[in-house]
């Protein structure tokens, strides 16, 4: 059982390398192989979660080299939680991609798409589990290549340009992360996260400047990748031009993985004593608040549905950083729960938007008149996602917002409750008009049909995700217990 986390990563990498050879002449089976592997891996991650719940967290030493020499995988609740989110969303995305890809990517390139997708998946899982700073950096770089690849595979000038922009800014981010890593290694002499944490107090006493610089570089480096507000400029282009499955995985999961990595590094490596001396959480709070408002305001101004969803992601990343930077247990629970909730909602919304593009061929929001009568299931699911984004009770978005608000009160900063309330109104201002326009507008939009009916695989994926949104809105107990365990171990160190 202890070998399972490494098997999950390695099997993704292995299939990614095998696909170009296996599917050179017949690209069709690629999708089925990937779906089978993902189902297996999702089950395995869930099984490891049960195992950890029973036996406690454990460490895995690659090559049998114990730390501080070898690379260590630390299988803890936070890692397992995010790995489960990654695999769950990816599973939905590959089932959806089965038919959607045909409309957006050259059929001869499908197995390359899956290769890049698997590389991305392996690296995201690796970032979740890794307990070694340099290993995290390597996975971050692989994720960058995979992410840029699945954007650029669609033959469209916008995609290539967005991908290049993303690549350049991302490389800047990883350069800063590497520099931060080097400075930390210089003062602590370790790369293993636990060992760096142990040596941090002495390093802070002797070289406060180095620790400060490394923390600043780390926040900016991961901030670029996680689209923290002033560093988000690559995100709207990249996420709106990409093929729908790529948008779902990039906006739904990838940006959050970087947020998780940043949270883990800030909390476990730098620790709480340093937070009182370095105002990093204050900076994060300010940026998160700005992100929430600016993202929503930009989203209101968009005419393209996918661009609007992309700007909404900027705002929602603000909630996650807000929760994490408030530092009280409830707020961090809210932030981490929002990782799951937003992954579910946003991937669903992007897939619903992709389904509209697939069937109708338009993306302008003004064309959505009366669409609810023509595509009832898709627009109903979109409506669920929209209500959940706004934070209506009974949908899963509500849960994380409640915890964020309680956490803000715990921290003695009621102003952030106001921030959450106002931003919910702003969310309503750009999500609800689409739903009302689709269902209650008597006019009908352009009657262009690219295909008559939505394929079953798309419909089923959307309905299942919509069902999960409602399920976790009504019965969030099991999810919250898992998140609480993750947060407690995070804050205890």
């Amino acid at each position: 059982m202890t070998h399972v986390p490494v098997f999950v990563i390695i099997s993704c990498l292995g299939l990614a390398f095998a696909l170009p050879v296996l599917c050179r002449f017949r690209p069709r089976p690629a999708g089925w192989l990937v779906r089978a592997l993902l189902m297996l891996n999702t089950a395995l991650v869930a099984r490891v979660l049960l195992f950890v719940n029973h036996q406690g967290t454990f460490y895995y030493h690659l090559g049998s080299w114990p730390p501080p020499w070898g690379i260590e995988l630390s299988i803890d609740y936070l890692g397992l939680f995010t790995a489960l989110v990654v695999h769950g969303v990816s599973l939905a995305v590959v089932f959806y991609a089965q038919t959607d890809l045909a409309g957006e990517v050259d059929p001869r390139m499908h197995h390359w798409y899956y290769t890049l997708f698997l590389l991305l998946l392996a690296s995201m899982t690796g970032i979740c589990f890794s307990g070694d700073f340099f290993n995290i950096f390597v996975f971050v770089e692989i994720a960058t290549i995979g992410a840029c690849g699945i954007i650029a595979l669609k033959r469209h000038p916008d995609c290539v340009e967005a991908s290049l922009k993303y690549l350049i800014l991302s490389t800047l981010g990883s350069g800063l992360i590497l520099l931060s890593l080097a400075i930390l290694y210089m003062v602590t002499g370790h790369l293993n996260l636990r060992y760096i944490a142990q040596h941090m107090p002495t390093a802070w006493a002797a070289y406060p400047l180095n620790v400060n610089i490394s923390l600043a570089l780390l926040v900016v480096g991961f901030g670029v990748k996680a689209a923290l507000f002033p560093l988000h400029i690559w995100l709207p282009d990249a996420h709106s031009s990409a093929p729908a499955p790529s948008s779902a995985i990039l906006s739904g999961v990838l940006v959050k993985i970087y947020a998780v990595a940043l949270i883990r590094l800030i909390h476990t490596v730098y620790g709480h004593k340093l937070h009182q001396m370095i105002p990093v959480t204050q900076v994060l709070l300010l940026l998160a608040t700005l992100a929430i408002f600016a993202g929503s305001l930009f989203a209101i101004g968009q005419r393209d549905i996918k661009r609007m969803l992309a700007y909404s992601t900027v705002a929602q990343m603000g909630y996650i950083f807000l929760g994490v930077a408030l530092l009280t247990e409830n707020a961090v629970v809210g932030g981490v729960t929002h990782i799951f909730n937003h992954a579910l909602m946003k991937s669903m919304l992007f897939m619903a938007a992709g389904a509209v593009v697939y069937q109708k061929g338009f993306r302008r929001i003004s064309d959505f008149h009366g669409l609810g009568r023509e595509m009832p299931i898709t627009m109903a699911v979109f409506g669920i996602g929209a209500l959940s984004m706004v934070g209506i009770p009974g949908f899963n978005g509500f849960i994380s917002k409640v915890y964020l608000a309680i956490g803000a009160l715990d921290a003695g900063r009621p102003v952030y409750v106001a921030v959450i309330l106002i931003s919910s109104l702003l969310n309503a201002a750009y999500y609800l008009p689409i739903v009302t326009r689709a269902f209650f507008n008597q006019e009908t939009g352009p009657a262009t049909f690219r295909v008559d009916r939505l394929p079953l695989s798309m419909k089923a994926t959307l309905v299942i995700l919509g069902g999960l949104c409602i399920y976790f809105g009504l019965v969030p107990g099991s999810l919250l217990r898992l998140v609480q365990k993750a947060v407690q171990s995070l804050l205890a160190t």
Binding site: V138, T171, L172, G175, L178, L179, A182
Partner: protein
């Protein structure tokens, strides 16, 4: 005087910072995409130089089993940078491939001109 001394003793750190800024400046100010990628590479090289110089001690040998040297440099930063180089190569290759695609679509590799073409299309 203290600052000058500090720079003189740690000249490799100082040099890597200067190179980093050169790369960063090239990346941000030049509108030619190829030059942007060159700037990106210079920036990465500066980081690599910085990391390698952390582990370097003058006059010591590489730690190899069976060698004759008695004192060794820290091999870990060099090993890390080898990995960093690999990643840098693949990123550069990927970026160049994308630039070729951009050139096919727009007929130019200048970011400003591409912006102009795009705004005219709208």
């Amino acid at each position: 005087m203290r600052i000058v001394n500090g720079i003189a003793q740690n000249y490799f750190y100082f040099a890597s910072m200067v190179i980093f800024l050169i790369g960063f400046h090239t990346m941000l100010t030049h509108s030619n995409l190829i030059k942007k990628i060159l700037g990106m590479n210079i920036m990465e090289t500066a980081v690599f130089l910085f990391v390698v110089s952390i582990g370097y001690v003058r006059g010591r040998a590489a730690p190899v089993v069976g060698g004759e040297a008695q004192q060794f440099v820290n091999p870990l930063p060099s090993a890390l940078i080898l990995t960093g180089l690999v990643v840098g190569v693949s990123l550069t290759a990927f970026a160049l491939a994308l630039i070729i695609k951009v050139y096919q679509y727009y007929g130019t590799v200048d970011a400003d001109e591409i912006m102009q073409i795009r705004s005219e299309e709208r």
